[in-house]
Symmetry: C2
Subunit: 478 residues, 2 copies
């Protein structure tokens, strides 16, 4: 089976069903690719096919048929109406195009005639040995190569203004495979806003051919991908998926957000098949066996992904909490125990070192130095750094959660880089947290992330991220 | 026992320990009050006391002693060093001041001499019949009257710039009582960023006198307060608290975020008392009996508060989900069942009405019209509005969750006001959701909230908010 590389890094691609009318999918998709080409992100060739006229669209060489193109593109993206799609695909096959993305809907998902049309596509795929993503999908988005078949324009009218509506994330090392196109689009919007970088995005829609197993196999070998995220409502080739996942999780982490976990959700996911009530426990056990990290919602999906891409896995489950706010320390301690992690018992030596720091007034004398370490509102950057050094060097500590409320007067914007440069000399995971939606809070968390420490707006979220690092540490070493 | 009104709406207040040095608490606190006075928010008189000089500070009449002030202020805010605080308080007593906020730390929380000093304050309180908030607290913040003893300046240096660091929320109808000052400050930052309005904020620190029960009693009678939020790590007068809460929850909702729910958290909350392991179940049961809504983290605290302040309670637990994105519909269905709510079975009439809308192409023919209603990516504002009308009129539906992904081409920024003006004619709670961190997503959610429909960035959070409306509906009608 040939690699899927042609989908993600084609030397040439053709949009079949390109349109001259702004707002139409066949226009918007082409426009996005033309922009990526102009910006130098997409470096391959671009062609368009429009059966009515071979006049150039948006400066792109346009042909009445795929067969007229002077070369064989690596990738064809079909946005033709469903009923014309089989013949467009037949042309692609005759031309020798091996990778097809069918964006168009109107196939198996609508039932009736659509099912028949999808069968025709399947026959053509086999006849010509093509790989197909879709139909009824958003396709792929690859910020590093500029391939982007998400046909939604970045901006959209908001009352009398234009607002950024469907932004694309920056290039990065997290890949997302999603069964739901709409949710995938929403995830990209979220990733952009949160500053989370994307390697590969794949929405495979009706899974005529390429499914989660194929995507997984591809992402396994993709060097850009360090963490694999999967949103799925059903996994058809369950056994193949799990066998493959078991191998991959030794190399890179897989995080799955499997919806349809209750009978109501499962019914919603599929009104066709019988209710899958109860089967969720089976998924749970299978995921665990394959070393997959399972999350319960979108927020956790990306919280965990950020931690896994930025920090090393933990070598054990003994966690230290370091804070300047007693309340958030209590919340983190609660969540640590609730998730089955342990609050580390600091070594005798660490206790002595803290005592010494108190005597030298580097750590406030009123600080609580039993884990959680509460430096109190009298904390300074120095007290954080020196406390962190003790925790990094304590063999009883496997991971450190820093809850640094920026409101405290002695804490400055230099703290994130100081903590990061210190912790880089050790192989212990560190995650950070600051509460608030103010300019300072957002910029402070961003500074942590620029320095490679994932930062969260809530204690509990930071602990859940650490839990994933502990879990993945176990998976890798088992 | 006199009302606490003098703390929240004083006709005159004095800052004892006012300073001329920017950065000092005694300066920053005064500066904030002076600004609120200039902006016309604080309409009372302002005095300062500084033992060294009676030269005006920031234009505020300043005296060497409280006794020199030409009138008796309603409120004295003490920011004097701990050891001078008893004598400052004695002066307040002799002057006849009845309401004292002691911001200063260095009392019981530091042990030793501090415990002794706090006892002195207690004796003075009794001697003069004063009410005291603190010591070791942030005090009160009341956006509507401009009283603000949170001494942290709004802006703080961020590398070489000034960033908004400790913003105050706009006036509103949610009040917050918090045991942790630092967490309280962080909550105000969060509320500001999320556009959540504040009625009264109280941080009572060491609880020398005023505690959660007193605050609760005051907020009960406060017309501005529609929803009461409490953050607590321990509740000392448990019985009084619960008896009072039981009465209040018939009138307005109380939401409690009680930390220290695990033994690790309880130990962190109090290294003095013995571990409270196991006692959390008792809290849980007691809260339930008192009709209190308990939440597990800060995000949920405010998610629930927003819903309760904006929407009526639900009359039952049968929920309808309306969406343009299948995936988020599945997630919401999952969470609905997981939280013990029911997915409503739409009436036969509703089914017929949906069929009719499909035939008239007002709702896309491929829409799934069994709850969750999935209008699909072909949804328009009209299809949302007409579907919403059916759900509002269906007697099998007690509450509606609208998951409106703005990315869908046919959905416009007019949708929130259309849905809101329709739903205002019915007495059913509606909550909304849109995923994303883009400009459009944020503005879209904001439009919903301007129209009185709370809007969340995640399906699961919207469902949890609806759960609180269902729960409170039961409490009110029981």
């Amino acid at each position: 089976m040939p690699s899927l590389d042609g989908f993600f890094n084609p030397r040439s691609m053709v949009i079949v069903g390109a349109s001259r009318t702004p707002g139409k999918i066949g226009y918007e998709l082409l426009r996005i690719m033309v922009e990526n080409s102009k910006r130098g992100i997409y470096r391959g060739k671009l062609y368009a096919v429009n059966p009515k006229s071979d006049e150039m669209i948006l400066g792109v060489p346009t042909y009445k048929s795929v067969l007229d193109i002077p070369e064989t593109p690596d990738l064809a993206v079909l946005v033709t109406p469903a009923k014309y799609t089989p013949s467009a695909m037949e042309d692609c096959g005759r031309k020798g195009i091996k990778n097809i993305i069918v964006i168009s809907g109107g196939f198996a998902e609508v039932g009736g005639e659509g099912v028949e049309l999808q069968k025709q596509l399947e026959l053509l795929k086999d006849k010509y040995g093509m790989r197909v993503i879709g139909p009824n999908c958003v396709g792929v988005v690859v910020p590093s190569t500029g391939v982007d078949t998400m046909f939604l324009p970045v901006e959209k009218e908001f009352l009398d203004k234009k607002y950024i509506s469907s932004p694309r994330p920056k290039p990065g090392n997290i890949s997302l495979s999603t069964q739901s196109g709409a949710f995938g689009v929403a995830c990209l919007d979220y990733m952009h806003g949160e500053g989370i970088g994307l390697a590969k995005f794949v929405s495979y829609g009706n899974k005529l051919d390429v499914d989660e197993v194929d995507v997984l196999e591809y992402l396994r070998g993709d060097e850009e991908t360090k963490v694999i995220l999967i949103y799925a409502e059903s996994i058809d080739r369950g056994r193949g998926f799990l066998e493959l996942a078991r191998k991959i999780t030794k190399e890179k982490p897989i995080v799955v957000f499997k919806a349809g976990r209750t009978s109501a959700g499962a019914r919603a996911a599929s009104s066709h098949t019988a209710a899958m009530a109860g089967s969720d426990n089976i998924y749970d056990a299978a995921f665990k066996q394959a070393g997959i990290i399972r999350v319960g919602d979108m927020e956790e999906l990306f919280d965990v992904a950020k931690a896994l891409v930025m920090q090393p896995p933990a070598k054990g489950d003994r966690i230290a909490i370091l804070t300047d706010g007693g309340g958030v320390g209590v919340m983190a301690a609660d969540e640590t125990e609730a998730l089955g992690l342990k609050l580390a018992n600091l070594s005798k030596e660490s206790q002595n070192r803290f005592q010494d720091l108190k005597e030298r007034r580097i750590v406030p004398p009123i600080a609580a130095t039993i884990n959680p370490i509460d430096l109190t509102g009298s904390a300074t950057d120095d007290s954080f750094v020196e406390a962190m050094r003790i925790l990094l060097e304590d063999n009883n500590v496997d991971g450190i959660i820093v809850l640094a409320l920026h409101h405290v007067p002695g804490v400055t914007a230099k703290l994130p880089s100081k903590l990061a440069s210190l912790s880089r000399s050790y192989d212990k995971p560190v995650v950070a947290m600051d509460v608030g939606s103010s300019q300072y809070a957002k910029a402070f968390r961003e500074l942590f992330e620029i320095e490679g420490i994932p930062a969260y707006p809530e204690s509990e979220r930071a602990v859940r991220a650490m839990k994933a690092l502990v879990y993945y540490g176990k998976v890798k070493s088992s």
